[in-house]
């Protein structure tokens, strides 16, 4: 979308006219140079819609890169730690990628259209990394962030909403599959993916089609508890789902100033995405293989179930001898679980071999005074919330 930058330092997304109409708080933030809402009305209400109805979020600022060319499949397999050699057309995969020291740069999703066309989505901008990595491969990389409008449609009634919107047979789409639709004369790609850990979809279309799509989805979801939701509500849902956020739960290798702050996949619970026995080389393989063989992994990222109801934002984690063993990277009181949960980065063996006698020091603000709480923590699976409906095929439908 072209616009005169004299009037605005930040770009507006193709949905801006609609998101600004929906905003009751005028709270925005800068995501990759775009202005998008953090909160429309109240975060709690938006969260409730995501867990009980349909929530709609503007995803346009997400970094989107199209990878095309004869070597596209080989290149993607080389770029990421996961073995994608068997990846099927019209599917999506969750991926991470590392630098030469085997430290994680970012996570994201990769969409396969055919063996010569892929799309990579991630929270931050990585064009230079892709371009430098692509040297020697017959691929071309283009930044399509501005040319694709994207929406996240998440929640238990999301399938019904989109079906009413015009996505026929959508309930048959399996998780991590995608399908192209033609709705109101425009091509719309719908993938069964999301960042809330619930039933949900992401929708990709031409920016020209953005406003109509928003309006029609709003109409379709009227009886299905549809509500736009902002970044804060997304943060709540993603912690419940145990998803990690770059530069929150770990420092991106390309961004961290201190080498000791970089994290390998094994240190952030992403070891399952590293396939060292992959047939071909991938960026960081040598270092990761060495880390695995020499067992030099220093930290781990775990889920904590914390006593009490005061969220442990930024708390330091201690062992029974009151030695500092880690830090909470994200925390909340989970309304749906009725639990005080957190993600924490711990020094091994804590969190792996030693799971008992771990404490969080919580400073709870109460009207300009802090109450210090010493709360016992239980190490649990990071995926706190994982409802059956999330992966159910066909997906649940509601009238």
């Amino acid at each position: 979308m072209t616009q005169d930058l004299r009037y605005s330092a930040l770009k507006k997304t193709p949905f801006h006219s609609r998101t600004s109409m929906a905003s009751r708080t005028n709270k925005y933030y800068n995501w990759n140079g775009y202005t998008v809402p953090t909160e429309y009305s109240t975060t709690e209400l938006e969260y409730t819609a995501a867990r009980n109805g349909t929530s709609v979020m503007d995803l346009t600022p997400m970094g989107k890169y199209e990878i095309t060319g004869d070597h596209a499949h080989r290149f993607v397999d080389y770029l990421v730690t996961r073995d994608l050699s068997e990846m099927k057309d019209n599917t999506v995969a969750y991926i991470i990628w590392c630098n030469e020291d085997g430290k994680v740069i970012d996570d994201g999703t990769i969409f396969k259209f055919s063996s010569t066309k892929f799309m990579l989505c991630c929270a931050v901008k990585i064009y230079n990394w892709l371009n430098d990595s692509a040297y020697g491969f017959d691929v071309s990389i283009s930044d399509v962030t501005d040319t694709i409008a994207a929406l996240a449609i998440q929640g238990p009634t999301s399938c019904s909403t989109l079906k009413k919107f015009g996505a026929t047979d959508l309930e048959k789409l399996k998780p991590f599959e995608m399908r192209e639709y033609k709705i109101d004369g425009f091509d719309i790609l719908i993938s069964r993916t999301g960042f809330t850990g619930d039933l949900g979809y992401e929708l990709w279309t031409d920016p020209k089609n953005a406003e109509t799509t928003w309006d029609n989805i709003e109409i379709a979801g009227k009886e299905l508890k549809l509500r736009p939701f902002g970044m804060h509500a997304l943060e709540m849902t993603r912690i419940e789902a145990g998803f990690i956020q770059t530069n929150t739960d770990f420092m991106a290798a390309e961004d961290s100033l201190r080498p000791t702050r970089m994290r390998s996949p094994y240190e952030i619970g992403m070891g399952w995405l590293v396939h060292l026995n992959k047939n071909s080389y991938f960026v960081g393989k040598k270092a990761l293989k060495k880390e695995k063989e020499e067992n030099t992994t220093e930290r781990c990222l775990v889920g904590l179930d914390i006593d009490g109801d005061k969220p442990a934002h930024g708390s330091v984690i201690y062992n029974s001898k009151k030695e500092d063993i880690g830090i909470v990277t994200a925390a909340l009181w989970s309304p749906i679980m009725k639990k005080n949960i957190a993600l924490a980065s711990l020094k091994r063996p804590y969190g792996i071999k030693i799971k008992e006698n771990i404490f969080a020091e919580i400073y709870h603000p109460e009207e300009l005074e802090y109450r210090k709480i010493w709360a016992r923590c239980k190490v649990v699976k990071r995926q706190f919330f994982n409802p059956e409906r999330r992966n159910k095929v066909p997906a649940d439908l509601y009238e």
Binding site: E100, W129, D132, S133, Y281, V283, K285, K286
Partner: protein, 505 residues
């Protein structure tokens, strides 16, 4: 995998470093194969490309069991349009006398300057001859080596230490202008500082280039310049003979397509004709860029390594003009001994800098700096072998379109010193860096397989993380001029690489 290895080591590229490396390995009872893409071994050490060579060090020659070639010392003569040439032989007294004809002050200062530079080049040289430390290793011996360099520099004394620190990033022009008044002398030394490099006399770092050159030329400015009796290819011939007696197998016209990688390890090579040969160690004598991008393959490299190799500066800036003559023209005010000397056309620092400027923009300078060498071909006919400094790797207009013009402009410069040159020319041949690239398979066509500059020397040569003759792939080594201590036809890279390979067996 390595069970069906036919050889202990395969060396890719039969240049002099490859030959040196092969001989040392074979003398330790390793079965060695050299795969040379061209019809003959020797690389750029031949009568066509090489004009002068530095002496081979005792360390290299003793590890080969002695080198039986005769080195003929050469005088350097800075040509002057007025006929007042400066002749320097590398002997303190003779050179002092020669320079004092023009300026007694310059002559005194030349001795001081030479003494100082010689001291620094020795300090640097002691560090240069061994394999460089690897900073990423955290090993004691590596830190000790670094400590020793620091200590050597410190032991120069406080005054010299400060002077060394001042000079390490300095440009040569400033230093020469501080010392000398004669522009011809300034031009001559500046020429030797920048020859073979991508720097002008006023580029920062051009001084260390000179120190580097001195370190491989007997720590002397003009003293360590030689030709080999019977032609420079005798150096290669001698190494090939040694290969034969050491049972090194040599395959010529065997161009290697890529390394065979199994389990993230180099286990052999695949030739362009499809043959596969396996060995325990693979040693690449080709330049770093080709080693990484062609042999290793970019699909086997980490992104950060690709970035480093892509930034590795390896564009050549020297062309070679060969003029076959029917008779030798007379050079103004030159006698027979002068004609047997290394003749340099670089009248002043500004002249060189002016020549350098267009090359930055891939344009030609029609008044280039020259190093002229008079040789005889097999029929005893004279020929001029001219090194032309600052001929860009690729020109904006395309070399094919400008070659003729360029040759004429070079001949025009020579005619200032040898007016009858035009009548003597039978045949002209210009070899551009571009030609060197395709003819000798050196990407960029750079003499030294990569710039000799502070960020591409020692443990940073060719790139950080790949020093000590190892590449990022286990089992694949490098022994070419792209490794420490770099080009200059010393064979030290080949010798040090052989040691690294032997340590790995």
């Amino acid at each position: 995998m390595s069970d069906n290895s036919n050889f202990d080591a395969i060396i890719i590229g039969g240049g002099h470093n490859g030959l040196v490396c092969a001989n040392i390995l074979a003398r330790k009872n390793k079965r060695v194969l050299i795969c040379e893409a061209r019809k003959e071994c020797g690389g750029m050490v031949n009568n066509e490309i090489t004009n002068y060579v530095p002496p081979v060090t005792t360390a290299v020659s003793s590890s080969l069991g002695g080198m039986q070639v005769n080195y003929l010392p050469k005088t350097t003569i800075a040509l002057s349009e007025t006929g007042q040439h400066i002749r320097l032989v590398g002997n303190q007294h003779i050179d002092h006398k020669s320079i004092s004809t023009f300026s007694s002050q310059d002559a005194d200062r030349f001795n001081d300057f030479h003494e100082k530079m010689s001291k620094f080049s020795k300090t640097l040289g002691s560090f240069m001859m061994a394999s460089p430390p690897r900073i990423m290793n955290n090993s004691f011996s590596d830190y000790f080596k670094l400590f020793k360099l620091g200590l050597n520099v410190r032991l120069l004394g406080k005054k010299n230490f400060n002077e060394f620190a001042r000079m390490i990033g300095l440009n040569i022009a400033d230093e020469l202008e501080d010392n000398f008044e004669n522009t011809l002398l300034q031009g001559l030394i500046a020429h030797d500082s920048v020859i073979g490099s991508n720097l002008g006399p006023r580029s920062p770092g051009s001084l260390i280039n000179l120190l580097y050159r001195m370190a491989i030329h007997n720590n002397s400015l003009f003293g360590g310049i030689f030709q080999i009796e019977g032609g420079n290819d005798q150096f290669t011939e001698h190494l090939i003979e040694k290969c034969k007696s050491n049972n090194v197998e040599i395959k010529t016209s065997a161009s290697v397509k890529n390394c065979i990688v199994e389990d993230d390890r180099a286990v052999g090579v695949e030739l362009n004709n499809g043959d596969k040969i396996y060995a325990k160690k693979i040693i690449s004598n080709v330049d770093p860029r080709s080693t990484y991008f062609s042999l290793l393959g970019s699909q086997n490299l980490d992104t950060d390594v690709k970035r480093k190799i892509k930034h590795h500066r390896s564009k050549g800036r020297v062309a070679k003009l060969i003029l076959d003559l029917n008779k030798l023209p007379s050079f103004n005010n030159c006698d027979d001994i002068d004609l047997d000397s290394r003749m340099v056309v670089a009248p002043s620092i500004d002249y060189i800098e002016e020549t350098f400027n267009p090359s930055k923009f891939d344009k030609l300078s029609l008044e280039p700096t020259l190093e002229i060498c008079i040789k005889k071909d097999s029929d005893q006919n004279p020929k001029l072998d001219i090194q032309v400094q600052y001929a860009p790797y690729k020109t904006n207009q395309g070399w094919e379109n400008v070659k003729e013009n360029y040759i004429e402009s070079i001949i025009k410069i020579i005619s200032k010193y040898a007016p009858s040159i035009n009548e003597c020319i039978e045949h002209k041949k210009l070899i551009t860096p571009d030609d060197i690239e395709s003819e000798y398979n050196i990407s960029g066509g750079h003499w030294h397989h990569g710039e000799i500059q502070i960020d591409q020397l020692f443990m940073m040569r060719p790139i950080p993380g790949a020093s000590q003759y190892k590449t990022h792939l286990d089992g694949l080594f490098m022994c070419g001029a792209g490794t420490h201590p770099g080009g200059g036809l010393t064979g030290i890279s080949g010798k040090n690489a052989a040691k690294a390979v032997l340590d790995d067996f």
